[in-house]
């Protein structure tokens, strides 16, 4: 059932086996999985059923580090969470991402990729993906072209799957409404986590609407699943019984913020006749939509002290009509409206999208014209390819979310986001591109021109809006906020879900792993509760 705390119909106290705070991919997946196992869930959403400006404004904060990032609008405070505007690229983290590395400080999870494989397989259907197959060999027979003949000991062809993208609010609205074990409340903003006196266990959480209607939730176990920035903000703001914030006795909550550096740079010129057909465009095959990129062999990544990366080839054409430089907020708004109208719905934030289109009307018109021309005269051959990637950063304790003096209407301090992008991260990416360029040269396929100089321009790195790492997982409480089960080290019944628990970010878009960890957590809690 889905209810609205603003209606005034809520009892003074809600109860369930598990209280889940947040209705994004982590929260909804967790609630549905727990319900399947017979556990009752109180599911709390701070926003409404769709976008509301006053709810969204609670996310406002300041950016004090690298400024090619946003703290307010990149995430959505509404039912379904940020799945309301994610782009849908999916891949599991690599085994390498979980390994401790002597050459990269603070690297390594207390779990392995193998531990997650069964849960990854179950997560695929939540995101409307194909089978859990991410090896090129699994798909090559179905593809319209061949992989580049590169030495796999150096560089190999990598598979991502594309979600439609799944909007959790649309897909699971009915399931949540009709599930007798899930008691979902909208406009229920968490305002405090109350520990039992003299214990390290959560007794209840307090929630409130923006207009002051309050209730509390009692449960055996509590899970905070509000995203990589908000998870840290909540813990840091709950200071009534823990002056440094809950779980923050070692000053780790909010630290190790990491993101993917979205960068499109470095150019490959292929020789005439090189078959690149499978790389630049997404490909529909049986039951899946694939995106195909290039990845450096993990052994070489370790040997050369690189970060992980998947690079996708973006075709560059001599004729402008085949290039995509018209893509901006106006185009995104336009395509969002077209897609949503085609499904018979009115888009969320319609006015905002409409005004983006009006502001960028020239770009939208250019985009429509170019798409029409491409239908009539498809391009023959790209002149070159650029590498687009969401590149990994090394874990950095100084990259962090902190509280600032400014408070939101509910009394929580807002956040400052100090995202650190370092020259070292960019130089590792440059070296990664050198390895790819050398592999292409060794195969006699062409040459690469690097786009990152030896003194890198940090401004080339943009946030992928993949907020990760702020309540990182580590077996040692002095190095991580949560343990291998996602439980806050210092609280016996408080768990964190979502990308805030990532110890390293790898280079895979995080939503598949977020969903995977939620399923794994549900299995754990179903036994523990």
């Amino acid at each position: 059932m889905i209810s609205d705390l603003r209606s005034g119909s809520a009892p003074a106290e809600l109860t369930g086996d598990v209280c889940v705070v947040g209705t994004g991919p982590a929260g909804i997946t967790l609630a549905l999985e727990l319900s399947k196992k017979g556990r009752s869930v109180v599911l709390l959403e701070g926003g409404g059923a769709s976008y509301e400006a006053d709810s969204q404004s609670l996310y406002r904060g300041s950016v004090i580090g690298h400024d090619n990032i946003d703290v307010a609008n990149s995430r959505l405070r509404q039912f379904g969470g940020t799945s309301g505007h994610w782009t849908g690229m999916c891949a599991p983290l690599d085994p390498l991402d979980f390994e401790p590395r002597t050459d990269v400080a603070h690297h390594g999870w207390p779990i392995t990729r193998e531990d997650l494989n069964p849960f990854y397989a179950r997560a695929q259907s939540y995101l409307d993906l194909g089978p859990f197959k991410y090896d090129f060999a699994d798909w090559q027979a179905m593809l319209p072209g061949k992989a580049l003949p590169l030495d796999p000991a150096k560089v190999f062809t990598d598979i991502y799957q594309q979600s439609p993208p799944t909007r959790f609010a649309e897909k699971f609205d009915e399931a949540i409404k009709t599930d007798p074990r899930i008691d979902c409340w909208l406009h229920a903003n968490l305002t405090d986590i109350v520990l039992k006196d003299g214990s390290d266990a959560v007794q209840r959480v307090v929630v409130s609407t923006l207009d002051g209607r309050r209730t509390s939730v009692k449960a055996k176990t509590f899970v905070v699943a509000c995203g990589g920035i908000e998870n840290a903000r909540i813990l840091l703001n709950c200071r009534n019984q823990r002056p440094a914030g809950i779980g923050n006795q070692n000053d780790l909550v909010g630290r190790y913020y990491t993101d993917h550096m979205t960068i499109e740079t470095s150019t490959i010129l292929f020789n005439e006749g090189v078959d690149t057909a499978i790389y630049p465009e997404e490909i529909d095959v049986e039951g899946a939509r694939l995106a195909i990129g290039l990845k450096v062999n993990p052994d070489l990544v370790k040997q050369l002290h690189l970060n992980n990366n998947s690079a996708f080839l973006v075709a560059q054409y001599d004729k402008d009509v085949y290039n995509d430089d018209f893509r901006n907020y106006g185009w995104i708004g336009f395509t969002t409206m077209v897609k949503t109208f085609s499904r018979g719905h009115l888009p969320d934030r319609f006015a905002e999208h409409y005004c983006d289109v009006i502001d960028d009307f020239g770009a939208v018109a250019t985009g429509v014209y170019r798409h029409a021309v491409r239908k009539v005269a498809p391009p023959s051959r790209a002149a070159a390819f650029k590498l687009r990637q969401d590149a990994e950063q090394s874990p950095n304790p100084d990259s962090r979310v902190t509280l600032i003096a400014d408070k939101d209407p509910l009394g929580f301090n807002r956040v400052a986001l100090d995202w650190r992008v370092t020259s070292e991260d960019l130089l590792k990416l440059r070296r990664t591109h050198e390895v790819i360029g050398a592999a292409i040269g060794a195969a006699g396929l062409g040459r690469m021109q690097l786009g990152i100089s030896e003194t890198p321009d940090l401004e080339m790195a943009f946030s992928a809006y993949h907020h990760m790492g702020t309540t990182r997982m580590h077996a040692d409480p002095k190095q991580g906020v949560v343990d291998a089960d996602c439980r806050v080290h210092s609280v016996s019944n408080l768990y964190m879900a979502g990308s805030s628990t990532f110890t390293t970010g790898g280079c895979a878009n995080p939503t598949l792993t977020v969903t995977t960890l939620a399923i794994r957590l549900a299995d754990h809690l179903a036994v523990a509760v």
């Binding site: 591109h433 050198e434 040269g441 060794a442 040459r447 690469m448 690097l450 786009g451 100089s453």
Partner: protein
């Protein structure tokens, strides 16, 4: 100060004459000894004579890893087994293929340099550099 005696004078002249004879005889004799002296400079024909190649060559010469001394550069290039074969090869296509194979081998062994941002094999960058040096000294 010593005195120049007739004996010393004749001895010196004799030594010079014998040396000259030995040298001249050796020169004549050596013309009959087969030797492998590849014509490195003919290999530079595989480098295009255009502005791009010249620019690569000029910029490659600024790198510490590429010698700006033509004999030294040619010596280092001719140490590469496929380059030696290419020098001895008379068929232009086969020569070009051997040079390309040597470049591919460089890439596989990560013997690369970055020139104007381009990731190039040491061999191709060195050949462009040698062409620039060769043109300058011509």
């Amino acid at each position: 100060m010593g005195t120049l005696t007739r004996r010393a004078l004749l001895g010196s002249v004799g030594a010079v004459a014998l040396g000259g004879l030995a040298y001249g005889g050796s020169r004549i004799g050596c013309t009959f000894v087969p030797r492998n002296h590849p014509d490195f400079f003919s290999l530079l024909d595989v480098v295009p004579d255009d502005a791009v190649a010249r620019r690569i060559g000029r910029n490659a010469l600024t790198l510490a890893s590429i010698s700006d001394n033509l004999p030294a550069l040619s010596a280092s290039l001719t140490e590469q087994p496929l380059i030696r074969q290419a020098i001895e090869e008379s068929c232009p296509t086969a020569r070009m293929n051997l040079v390309q194979d040597q470049c591919a081998l460089d890439f596989a062994e990560m013997k690369t340099v970055v020139v104007d941002g381009w990731v190039l094999s040491e061999t191709e960058a060195s050949l462009c550099a040698a062409r620039v040096l060769g043109s300058a000294s011509a």
